[in-house]
């Protein structure tokens, strides 16, 4: 299976009154068609910005984005619009991302009407087909979002994203606002759809157990920078970056017989505004040395297919 998306040294800086905010800095990765890349990190680490920049909902400050082999970094507005048919997004909050004045059928038809490629009858057919696909009973077609619960609303968001038959979807925390029993229903749905339609996902989340469940590869971010990327199983079995180790051991495990070695992380995330040229994690890192304080580490392939940005990675892990 071929590569569908490649991102090279992507950066996005925002101007704020107190200086330039480095939301995403020098992020590179590629995804093959039909696979899922999980992007994890704590709030404010730039994971949502990354997802939106890849879709060009936000213009990148630097770097390049290739979609199906084509450089889409600087394409015209018209081309960008055409791209929407292939690249879609599912938003985190199904309460604020749906227009309260449209009913379910209109909400799902909205993207189809935008492209004016179908007549009324065809649109209606597609709408019902999408509702069946995402498991929304047809009797809700004329209900409004406020009449539905979070799980059903998220299904509308998924149906909207799928209506144009895209190849690639950014899922931005699609299950974070749902209860666990509903969350499991939506995760299963996303997996089924991926299988049926060979969809490619970028799955942005802060929930590590969800990301492990759904992803093929995982990218860990910390204050705008990528710290580690490798296949999902590898990350959980052999995390190499000190931040990943701390993050993984901080997850409460629902098993009372589970004994784990706790790697405790002290302190909190540093500020992404005008960060100095040092490792972003240096203030919380138990292994920090002098070089960490004067140079941001490069992103290296430490083991086959396992990328880490850490100056001391080899020493810490006895590689």
């Amino acid at each position: 299976m071929g590569e569908i998306l490649r991102v090279e040294k992507l950066s996005k800086f925002f101007d704020t009154p107190s200086g330039s905010l480095h939301a995403v800095e020098n992020v590179s990765f590629s995804i093959e068609q039909g696979k899922t890349l999980g992007v994890v990190g704590e709030s404010g680490c730039g994971k949502s910005t990354l997802g939106r920049t890849v879709l060009k909902l936000i213009e990148p400050t630097g770097g390049k984005i290739f979609f199906q082999g084509k450089d889409i970094t600087n394409i015209s507005k018209k081309e960008n619009r055409a791209l929407r048919k292939d690249m879609q997004i599912i938003f985190q909050d199904p309460f604020s991302s749906l227009n309260p004045r449209l009913n379910v059928a209109d909400l799902i038809a909205d993207p189809l009407k935008t492209f004016k490629e179908h007549n009324k009858k065809e649109i209606e057919e597609i709408v019902f087909e999408m509702m069946d696909l995402v498991g929304l009973s047809r009797r809700y077609a004329y209900s409004y979002p406020h009449e539905l619960d979070g799980g059903r609303r998220q299904r509308i968001g998924i149906a909207r994203a799928l209506a144009l038959d895209p190849k690639f979807i950014v899922c931005d925390e699609p299950v974070s606002s749902l209860d666990v029993s509903i969350q499991a229903q939506i995760l299963n749905l996303l997996q089924d759809l991926q299988e049926q339609k060979r969809l490619t996902y970028i799955f942005v989340t802060h929930d590590l157990s969800v990301v492990k469940h759904i992803s093929d590869d995982i990218l860990v971010m910390y204050v705008g920078a990528m710290v580690e990327k490798c296949p999902s199983k590898e990350l959980f079995a052999h995390p190499l970056h000190p931040y990943t180790k701390g993050l993984l051991s901080a997850i409460p495990i629902p098993n009372i017989h589970h004994e784990k070695v706790k790697v405790k992380l002290q302190g909190e995330l540093s500020s992404p505004i005008e960060p100095p040229d040092e490792c972003r994690f240096v203030k919380r890192c138990p292994y920090a040395t002098d070089i960490c304080r004067c140079k941001m580490p490069d992103y290296e392939e430490v083991l086959p297919n396992h990328f880490v940005s850490c100056h001391n990675c080899k020493n810490i892990n006895n590689l």
């Binding site: 704590e42 209860d179 029993s181 499991a184 492990k212 993050l247 901080a250 629902p254 009372i256 992380l265």
Partner: protein, 323 residues
């Protein structure tokens, strides 16, 4: 006698057109130095239970229809507001879910903590201030930050301030309503550890409200699973985690993606929680239960003690049909 005993508590929200049965006949015990986890989904009645202990239910529309809440043997529900004020914040205190809205934005954090000392202890203003600095230090905030305002703190730090306020009077009972839901995992780990340390230091009893079974596994001694305002299963942490009996409890465990094992597909609970204004006649869970039989739709299951200390509310468990 337990420190806190809730007996057959029933709370309703009486609205113009309907009555919402938020909490139905709940009984719970919390002993000194122990932590009880109250687990359930949105709208299950977790927070309503907590607010009724604190006497903070919005009335109207909320109404306690029946039941007793005994704290050190005294019924909090029959207490006068004035007496309750002496207990609230002093012997029982609460950590609210959202630290962003639980703090007063126009007072410095030092003042907010000192206020608790001032109200409940015989402290002068200067003494209260000194005590508040000690509290800040205990929760891991540098005392010199006491003159800062809540907006100058990050989410994790704000939650520490809220915890410092809740623990200021060394309460015997701490009610924590989703104390870490708004926080990131590494910060959550720090806050949970802090709460555990304090529990050991002060022998505080804790009622921990959460939907995260991982947090329950790490902090609780007993667990109560609440569904549609009713307890469906109640027991020690070993009983619930090693031998979950109610189909809802089992469903909850099946819904969580596991970090230990590889599971291809999750086993979600189908359907949704029933509308608490319009509950089914029989078992409240029967519409979503894979093991439901006709009897479940008709008769409300009894709340049975299947082994010492382990209670389950399910028709298909206990008696002869034990499988």
């Amino acid at each position: 006698m337990s420190l806190l005993e809730i007996k057959n508590l029933t709370v309703e929200y009486v609205l113009r057109k309907s009555v919402v049965h938020a909490v139905n006949n709940i009984s719970l015990n919390v002993d000194a130095g122990k932590t009880l986890g109250l687990v359930g989904e949105t709208g299950a009645g977790k927070t309503t239970t907590a607010l009724s202990i604190m006497g903070l239910l919005p009335h109207p529309p909320a109404k306690v229809q029946s039941g007793e809440i005994l704290f050190e043997g005294q019924d909090l529900l029959k207490m006068k507001e004035h007496d309750l004020e002496n207990i609230r914040g002093n012997k029982i205190s609460m950590i609210f879910q959202d630290p962003m809205t639980a703090l007063n934005p126009v007072l410095t954090v030092g003042e907010q903590i000192a206020e608790t000392f001032h109200l409940h202890g015989n402290y002068s203003r200067a003494e209260a201030e000194k005590e508040s600095l000690k509290m800040l230090e205990m929760v891991g905030i540098r005392p010199e930050r006491s003159t800062e305002y809540p907006h100058q703190f990050s989410g994790g730090m704000k939650q520490r301030v809220v915890i410092a306020m809740a623990l200021a009077c060394k309460p015997q009972l701490l009610i924590a309503d989703e104390p870490t839901t708004a926080l990131d995992v590494t910060i959550q780990a720090q806050v949970l550890e802090l709460m555990n340390d304090l529990k050991v230091t002060f022998n505080t009893a804790m009622l921990l409200i959460t939907h995260d079974l991982g947090i329950v596994a790490e902090t609780c001694d007993d667990v109560a699973i609440i569904y549609a305002g009713q307890l469906v299963e109640y027991g020690s942490i070993e009983q619930i985690f090693d031998n979950p009996l109610h189909p809802y409890t089992i469903g909850l465990f099946g819904s969580i993606p596991s970090l230990d094992e590889d599971v291809e597909r999750l086993k979600p609970i189908p359907g949704l929680m029933p509308d608490p204004a319009n509950l089914p006649v029989g078992c409240k869970f029967c519409t979503r239960c894979s093991r439901a039989v006709k009897q479940c739709e008709e008769a409300e299951p009894e709340y049975l003690e299947v082994e010492p200390g382990h209670f389950v509310r399910c028709n298909r468990i206990g008696g002869t049909d034990n499988g």
